[in-house]
Structure formats: C-alpha cells, structure tokens
C-alpha cells in the first residue's frame, strides 16, 4: 500500500494487531482485533479502538483527534491485507460503532480502492442487503473477501 501508515505488530495467530498513533495528543496505542463470528463460510469481525493504559481495556468512547486519522485508517486497512494473507478464504465484516465512524471506514476504503479492487471483493450493506461497493453510497457495514 502506498498510503502512509504506522509500523504495526501482530501475534502468531494474526488476529490481534497493535500500533501507536502519534500526534499532538501524544502516543496512543491502537488495537485491531479480528474475531471469528461464523464458521461456514468463515467470517471474522474487524474491530479496533484505543487501549486504555489504566485498565488494559479497549475504550471506544475516545475520539483521539490526534490529527492522523488517514494514517490510522490506512494502517487498519493494511492489517486486513495481512489478515487475509493468513486467512484467504475468510470474509471480513466491518461496521463502525457510530454512523460517522462507519462513514470513515467508507472513506478509508475509497482511498485505497485503486489498490484493492483487483484483489478483493468489497460489499456494502444497504437496505438490508449486500451490494458491490461503490463511491457515493452511504453503506451501513462492509464485507471484504479475497477474489
């Protein structure tokens, strides 16, 4: 991927990824986690958030505003590429915890569209059914699968 992104780390299962957002608000640890939600066919949920250092839990209420949202989204997208290298037959489901966050996912997909659409099928959920992803449509959730 050509977009600027953070160095990120994963474990041997390729289900958990960590990286640090760096900006005016400091150095914030971000976690990306893929959790299996269906066996046949294989579907994983993508979720990410900030790690609260005080209690070791993910805090989704924080709006980091560290001035690096594009770089963060590009890094999350890069983890999906790595995840799918490990799990090539899996679908990845992603939906933001709010409409505005889902919109940000959509913008993130658009930014990397030229790099991913040859190798990945991307679908958006709209009016209770799945459609091939396209610009200008506000989807409610996304599914990605390797072609």
């Amino acid at each position: 991927m050509n977009l600027e992104q953070y160095i990120y780390y994963t474990n041997k299962d390729f289900l958990d990824y960590e990286f640090y957002s760096e900006g005016p608000k400091g150095r914030i640890k971000k976690i990306v986690h893929y959790q299996k939600i269906n066996e046949h066919p294989l579907v994983y949920n993508l979720a990410f958030g900030d790690l609260n250092d005080l209690n070791g839990k993910i805090d989704d209420a924080i709006n980091t505003n560290n001035g690096d949202s594009e770089k963060v989204l590009a890094t999350v997208a890069a983890t999906t590429v790595d995840f799918m290298n490990k799990y090539p037959n899996a679908y990845v489901y992603a939906a933001g915890s709010t409409l505005s966050r889902t919109r940000r996912y959509q913008m993130g997909i658009l930014k990397i569209w030229n790099e991913i659409h040859h190798n990945f099928e991307v679908y958006g959920l709209l009016d209770e059914s799945w459609h091939l992803f396209k610009a200008g449509v506000n989807f409610e959730a996304f599914l990605v699968k390797r072609k």
Partner: protein, 53 residues
Amino acid sequence: MPTILKKEKRRKIKGQAVISPKVNSYSSDPYFEQKARNAKEAIEKFGLPPQNH
C-alpha cells in the same frame, strides 16, 4: 550503570506486519466481544452477498 535492553526477536512477513510475541490476545475484551455479537447478529439477519456478481 549501563542498561542492557533485551532486543525483541522479530521478523518481517510478506505484508507489513511485524510478528511479536508481545502482542496480546484481545478476544475477551468486553468491547470487542460486544462488537462481535453485533456483527454475528447482522450476518444472521442479512446473510452474505450472492456469489453471482
């Protein structure tokens, strides 16, 4: 007194990720568990895309 830092054993993989034994599993984090439940409900309700696109 000089400090000796233990060098983390790591290697590059095909993509960009660096494998590190220091990365925890977050599968039991309450927020991630809730997100997974919501996603599971959505897949059960709406299914998966047709494969004839």
